[in-house]
Symmetry: C2
Subunit: 152 residues, 2 copies
DNA sequence: GGTGAAAACACTCTCAG
DNA sequence: CTGAGAGTGTTTTCACC
């Protein structure tokens, strides 16, 4: 896993724009195309680069109503937890779900069209799951920063 | 913006794997390469596809300590808010920041190496910003789902 | 809207050094 | 790591449905 400065630079560039060519990277980092190519392939093999994805404009596809939903479970038995987590994976409105410490057990990031769609999600999907003790919704007013980039 | 079923299918495929070739898409959707190519270019021009990025494995690059940091501001004057938001953008540890309704003003998603690094971020970076009334940290125990895909 | 084909080009990938 | 060559995918254009 030992990443040198060149690897880190490559990862930074690819995190910002994965359509950048090895040619362009080799030009910027003053290395041959082959060297850059080998390094990228190695990073992919090591699964340091997990995948390449297209990021959409949430507003343009009418999914800009973002809600953080905090969930408490009734019991934290192994069965309850794993069943809940399996069900969450199936909900397409949930883009992220983290098991967390603190006042509640899970934080969900939910992406829908509007409040009506959120209500529908809450009433007909989320709260039909077994084992939920309470939910608390926090609504996004505006997006200040939303990046997939991590500083390496 | 009117997306038909073909556009939606293309967007779904590209959100899952942006390295998929137009050839492969045309095969799956039973359309010619030319048609697929034209549609992708249109989606890019319309900025429905915002960008293409590489997603890294947080664990492998030693940034798997994820914290949700809830922030309250002292005053919500325009100056305070815009200055705070500008400063947040500069913090590389903050991958996401949303202005939200509810008990606090902002939710930050912070990605660092470990608790020590988080403490350092909190003490030396975040809380040196002016206008913050309080912060509350919620730590990730485990990641259940973490997707960039949105259902179109 | 769509097809299919051809040509030009760019990038990826491999290999010898 | 480099440079060059082969292979593959992209991009554009065309005539046409």
């Amino acid at each position: 896993m030992n990443l040198d400065e060149i690897d880190k630079n490559i990862l930074q560039l690819l995190q910002r724009d994965s359509k950048i060519t090895t040619k362009e990277i080799s030009y910027r980092l003053k290395l041959s195309m082959t060297a850059i190519h080998e390094r990228i392939k190695k990073l992919e093999r090591q699964k340091i680069i997990n995948r390449y994805v297209a990021i959409l404009d949430k507003e343009k596809i009418d999914k800009n109503f973002l809600v953080f939903c905090h969930i408490k479970l009734i019991q934290h038995t192994k069965d309850n937890v794993s069943k809940f987590e399996r069900e969450i994976l199936k909900l397409e409105e949930v883009s992220e779900c983290f098991h967390v410490s603190g006042d509640y057990d899970y934080i969900l990031k939910v992406c829908v069209k509007n409040m009506k769609a959120y209500r529908n999600f809450l009433v007909n999907k989320l709260t039909t799951l077994q084992g939920i003790s309470s939910t608390q919704s926090t609504f996004m007013i505006s997006e200040v920063k939303n990046s997939t980039e991590i500083n390496v």
